[in-house]
Symmetry: C2
DNA sequence: GCATATGTGTTATATTATAACTCGTCAATA
DNA sequence: TATTGACGAGTTATAATATAACACATATGC
């Protein structure tokens, strides 16, 4: 296997957003794992929180807080910004979602519980966001920081460009 | 020399924001280089634009657009957001400043004209932002993207943490 | 059950960013 | 010389993103 993530052992599907895959399965697995992790951590995966994660998991795009809010409101949850922001904050804090600063948006984490520091590849054409294995990038970044005595606490590594499919179409 | 940037040949000072250095000299050199590059490119370094760059160059911190605007307004320039945003946009487009998305702010580029894709190290304690050499990080990122057929157009690599000085103090 | 912590919903407001129109300057043209 | 067109700067207005602070309910731990 050419990756270091937990691809689904059942189906062996590729684990990257850009690849064609059975996304329903993909989403279901991630949601289940997140719920289990929340339980283990004593964190409460309440209805709003779970629903927000489900919404993010609908596809591999990043959603703005207000997009999420609109969905929540339509489903009878609160319709004010804090409702969405708080749920998103919870998901990010617990590693169930990532914040993609380049586009002021949030995406479900596809590898919850794996303590990864991912790179995000954002297709500017189809808006898909892939969370790519980043160990070598992180290592290089850590080395650069260490060389000047800087200690990194959090980092974000994001790239904008075109995914294989969209590049092929152009 | 342990770096791949144009340190000043006159003074041989370290080229990183966190190091103690003659910053007046540092800023003056960068400003001069930027003005020369603008001229070469047929771009007009107008009074507002130059002033914004000078303001960013006052220290190695990143400034928000509204911080810049406040300074401009106090000096008799326009006092509406587009005045600041347009000057900042010009500087970023021409490689004279960088946008640091993690903190919604802008910092002068310390290596204008060098076609670098830097890493930003942001000290959460003193707010200083260092623009570190990033060739290895970029290489790792390019490799990760290439592995899945993604073509990168722009990327941002930012890390939040503590600089050597602030870490020493804690 | 009771006390407490936590989560949700609300109002209000802060912060960041852009659209669209106007005017002045300057330089190339007719 | 008058005209035009490009550009930059200033303005008004508004959009988009994000948080503070309070009221109330519900879950949790005792
Ligand atoms: Zn999927
Ligand atoms: Zn695409
Ligand atoms: Zn300096
Ligand atoms: Zn510091």
């Amino acid at each position: 296997m050419p990756h270091d993530h937990n691809a689904c052992p059942d189906c062996g599907l590729p684990d990257l957003a850009f690849a064609v895959h059975d996304h329903a399965h993909c989403a279901e697995q991630v949601l289940a794992r997140a719920e289990a992790l929340a339980q283990d951590a004593g964190a409460r995966m309440t209805p709003v929180r779970k629903r927000v994660l489900e919404i993010l998991l609908e596809n591999h795009k990043a959603l703005g807080a207000y997009d999420v809010l609109q969905r929540l409101a339509a489903e009878g949850f609160g319709n004010q910004p804090p409702v969405a922001y708080r749920a998103l904050e919870f998901l990010v804090e617990h590693g169930f979602a990532h914040r993609i600063r380049r586009v002021n948006a949030f995406a479900a984490c596809m590898y919850p519980g794996e303590d990864h520091a991912p790179v995000f590849l954002i297709c500017k054409t189809c808006d898909l966001v892939a969370e790519a294995p980043a160990a070598p990038v992180r290592a290089a970044l850590d080395a650069a920081a260490q060389a000047i005595g800087f200690s990194i606490e959090r980092s974000n590594i994001e790239a904008l460009g075109q995914c294989p499919a969209c590049r092929g179409a152009a």
